[in-house]
Symmetry: C2
Subunit: 286 residues, 2 copies
């Protein structure tokens, strides 16, 4: 790969994350040979051009992909798989591709199996986002200090992996964790998907929207992410359902245990549990 | 009551909330006749005096209470009831008392029944706090714009209620809601206690503290309040257990429903539910 300053970068899908990548690359002075984007929404492309976030907009991937050294796929998992199937022949030789999808096993398997031999694909998951979706809110998606997960394939070239990690660090992300797609899906089912299911359940179970008069911050914190992108999360929940159902079961076990301590008025057991929770949470570096 | 600028105010318990009240009263230029505090911890009293948060510190309530026009009880519910029983005769005539306890029915009932006829007690609950407890973190407890719940007793004097509401507004709080102790306990069981039980369960169910490498913000937001004051929350959970167990049941109903949609791979039903959740959450003014 050429140095990232002199690469041409193409972003597929200018939603919240695609927009945030465009702005981040621009801010860091990267992609000097051209920052391109394609999207099905012409208005979004026009807005990104007007904002100076991209150098050139494309309606059809066939014309953009041959011009790119690096392609960042910022679309839902199912769209990604369809896209790769349809446009596989349009990538330039030696293109490096990465993605941002929140569930990785199916993508990793498909890329191990079907990827053109001369191009490389490193699956990734930036642990950033916003409850406000779309390109219009891309500026509110802050990368600084956030976690980034990479699930490299056996076939990935070490120099491409080094290149991508350098790029991620220069975009401002904090910890970069390399793991398997399976471990990603198991862990993110807990830290991200289960949290979203819980937030959704909390809102689903109470119809009185004026109950927020009684809010003290915790309810607001727990349910901010209930402002979720319904099609995307539906896809992620279902795609990763085995891990997620397992995590729901695990969470319910602890919920049942706490409920039981409360029902039995086991003051000592409850206080000990809450004390342990406090200590464990304080050992977590968030 | 005298104007609040010229009152003497006594704070019982200089923890996080007592400290925040002292600092808030000081900042607003209130309690001109004296800002007093009593606490069992001499070091905390010394620190508050040194910081200029209070004018005078008392180790024994018997000497402080007779000097106060307004007393703010910033202690746990059970301590409050013991305190009122023990020091009932020490309050000055016509004292107005309020409290900050997170569960109100038992306190309201006790005060309706046992309060000295010449003094007044208006139960209250400032919906503010911090996962960092104690006087040392009082400055991090921000009142600005937060909700405040009052559960007035039948016997409260209207002028005292007006006085207290004015005081609360001048401390920077936002919405003040007057309701019954029963409605408070039912609603706060949802917005506050259930949130804390969920956060505790989320931490309780996962022993790997390095899982935060996979955190993307939602897990952190959901579990910040798991850094809870174990004795206080044990007391609140058990005191309000009937309402809380009911709220846990309600939440579990929605969790089960979401789990069922995921298990059945009901993409349409899941997306519709998440869309409804998003819309309901957006109608909540937090």
């Amino acid at each position: 790969m050429k140095p990232i300053e002199t690469c041409a970068v193409g972003i597929v899908g200018l939603g919240l994350m695609g927009g945030a990548f465009a702005k981040g690359l621009r801010r860091a002075g990267l992609a000097g040979a051209g920052l391109f984007a394609c999207d099905k929404d012409a208005a979004v492309l026009a807005a990104a051009l007007a904002a100076g976030d991209i150098d050139r907009a494309f309606r059809s991937p066939e014309t953009m992909l041959p011009r790119c050294n690096l392609v960042i796929l910022c679309v839902n998992p199912s769209t990604l798989l369809r896209f790769m199937g349809r446009f596989m022949d349009d990538f330039a030789p030696d293109t490096l591709i990465t993605d941002i999808a929140g569930v990785k096993s199916a993508i990793a398997a498909a890329m191990e199996r079907d990827l053109r031999p001369d191009i490389d694909f490193i699956p990734g998951h930036p642990m950033a986002g916003s409850e406000k979706g779309g390109y219009a809110h891309a500026a509110s998606c802050d990368f600084r200090g956030r976690n980034y997960i990479l699930t490299p394939l056996r076939r990935n070239k070490p120099e491409n992996l080094a290149f991508l990690k350098d790029l991620i660090a220069r975009l401002g992300f904090g910890r970069i964790t390399e793991t398997t797609a399976a471990a990603h899906d198991r862990n993110v089912a807990f830290t991200s998907q289960l949290s979203h299911v819980i937030a959704a359940a909390l809102i689903d179970c109470e119809t009185d929207v004026s109950i927020t008069r009684f809010g003290g911050g915790s309810f607001e914190d727990l349910t901010r992410i209930a402002m979720l992108n319904a099609p995307m999360w539906t896809e992620i929940f279902l795609e990763n359902r085995r891990e997620l159902l397992d995590r729901i079961r695990q969470f319910r076990g602890s919920l049942d245990r706490l409920e039981d301590l409360i029902r039995k008025e086991d003051s000592e057991g409850l206080e000990r549990t809450l004390q342990n929770v406090r200590e464990r949470r304080s050992r977590m570096t968030c």
